[in-house]
Amino acid sequence: MHELGLATEIIRLLEDQKRQRGFLRVNIVRLRAGALSGVDRHALELAFTIAGEGSCAAGARLELDQPALTLLCRQCRGETPATQAGGPQTCPACGSSELVLRGEDGLDVVSIEVD
C-alpha cells in the first residue's frame, strides 16, 4: 500500500520530466532509498509495474540502491552493521553500549535513462 503511493509519485515525477524535456519513454529509473526510509524493494518493484501501466515508464526497469542500516558508536565513531534483532548490544571495536542507528530516510530519483 505504502509502496504503491510512492510508485505513483515516481510515475508522476517521470511524466512531469517527460513534459519538460520531451523524451519518448523511460527505460531505467535509478533510485536511492535511505536505510531508514522503510522502503521494501520487492513491494516497490511490484507497485512500480502496476503504477507505470500506460505511462511513459511502462515496463521500465527499477534500479534501487539501498545501503544497509548501520550502528554508529558514539565513543570510537566506528560503524557496524545493525542486525534484524537490533544487535549488536555493544560496539565490536571498543565495547561501548552507546550505539546509535545511522541512516537517511529519503527516497530520491537519482537518474533516468530515456529514449
Binding site: G5, E9, N27, L71, V100, L101, D105, D108
Partner: protein
C-alpha cells in the same frame, strides 16, 4: 538511450505542500503535533485525556485520520474538542494535502494547538511531513518492548515518545529500560513521557509539554 541526472526526492510534492501549510500555521500562531503509533497504542485515549486536562487553558483543534468511520472524531467531540475526521478509505498515511483540505474552512486563528492523529501505522506515515512542529510516536506496554528495533524509522523521525498503558506494567512482560534503550538507539534526542489513560498517571507532564509549545513567529 540518454541518461538524465535528476536527484529529485519522491516526497518533494508532499514537502512543498507541507511547507505551504506550515507557513499558514505559523501565521496563525498555531503549534502543530503529529501523533503516530501502531493501531491500539492509545492515541485517541491520550487525546481524550489531553482534552479534559487542557480545557480552558489552550484552544485545541483535532484532526483524526482513519481508514474508515467517524468514530474517533466522535470520541474527541464527546471529550469537548472540535474535530475533523479524514477517512482515507485504505490509504495508509495522511499527507500534507489531506490536512490542507481538512482545514480549508477552519479558522486557524481561533486555536493555539492542532493535534493530528495519524493512521495507526509505524511505517508509512514517517516519510510524510504534515507541516507539524513536533512529531510524537506513541507506544504501549501491551506491545513488544523491541518495537523501536523493529520499526526504527518511526522513532528516528519523531521528537517525542509517549509510552502509554503503564498501569498494565505489573501484568505484562514489557521491560521499560530495554524499550527506552532501543528507542534512544534509534534517536538519542527523543523526549519521553510515560502515561496511563486509565489512572491518569503522567498525563499532567505530557499536557504541560503541550502547553509549552509555541509556534515561532513566521
Amino acid at each position: 538511450m540518454t541518461e538524465i541526472p535528476l536527484q529529485k526526492s519522491v516526497f518533494q510534492r508532499n514537502q512543498a505542500q507541507a511547507d505551504r501549510i506550515r507557513r499558514r500555521f505559523a501565521q496563525a500562531g498555531l503549534a502543530v503535533v503529529n501523533l503516530l503509533s501502531s493501531p491500539g497504542a492509545g492515541k485517541t485515549s491520550l487525546l481524550e485525556q489531553t482534552a479534559a486536562r487542557l480545557a480552558g487553558r489552550r484552544r485545541i483543534f483535532v484532526v483524526e485520520g482513519d481508514l474508515e468511520t467517524e468514530r474517533d472524531a466522535d470520541r474527541i467531540r464527546a471529550a469537548g474538542l472540535p474535530a475533523r475526521q479524514i477517512q482515507t478509505h485504505g490509504a495508509c498515511h495522511l499527507d500534507a494535502e489531506s490536512i490542507e483540505q481538512a482545514l480549508t474552512d477552519v479558522d486557524l486563528n481561533a486555536y493555539d494547538l492542532l493535534l493530528i492523529e495519524n493512521i495507526g501505522n509505524l511505517i508509512c506515515p514517517t516519510g510524510f511531513d504534515l507541516g507539524e512542529d513536533v512529531r510524537v510516536v506513541v507506544a504501549s506496554t501491551t506491545e513488544g518492548d523491541d518495537k523501536p528495533h523493529k520499526y526504527p524509522e518511526a522513532y528516528h523521525a519523531s521528537d517525542v515518545c509517549v509510552l502509554n498503558k503503564i498501569d498494565l506494567l505489573p501484568y505484562v512482560p514489557f521491560r521499560v529500560e530495554a524499550f527506552l534503550a532501543a528507542a534512544r538507539r534509534a534517536n538519542p534526542g527523543l523526549v519521553f513521557f510515560q502515561t496511563s489513560c486509565t489512572t491518569g498517571e503522567g498525563i499532567d507532564a505530557w499536557c504541560e509539554y503541550l502547553c509549552a509549545l509555541h509556534r515561532s513567529p513566521a
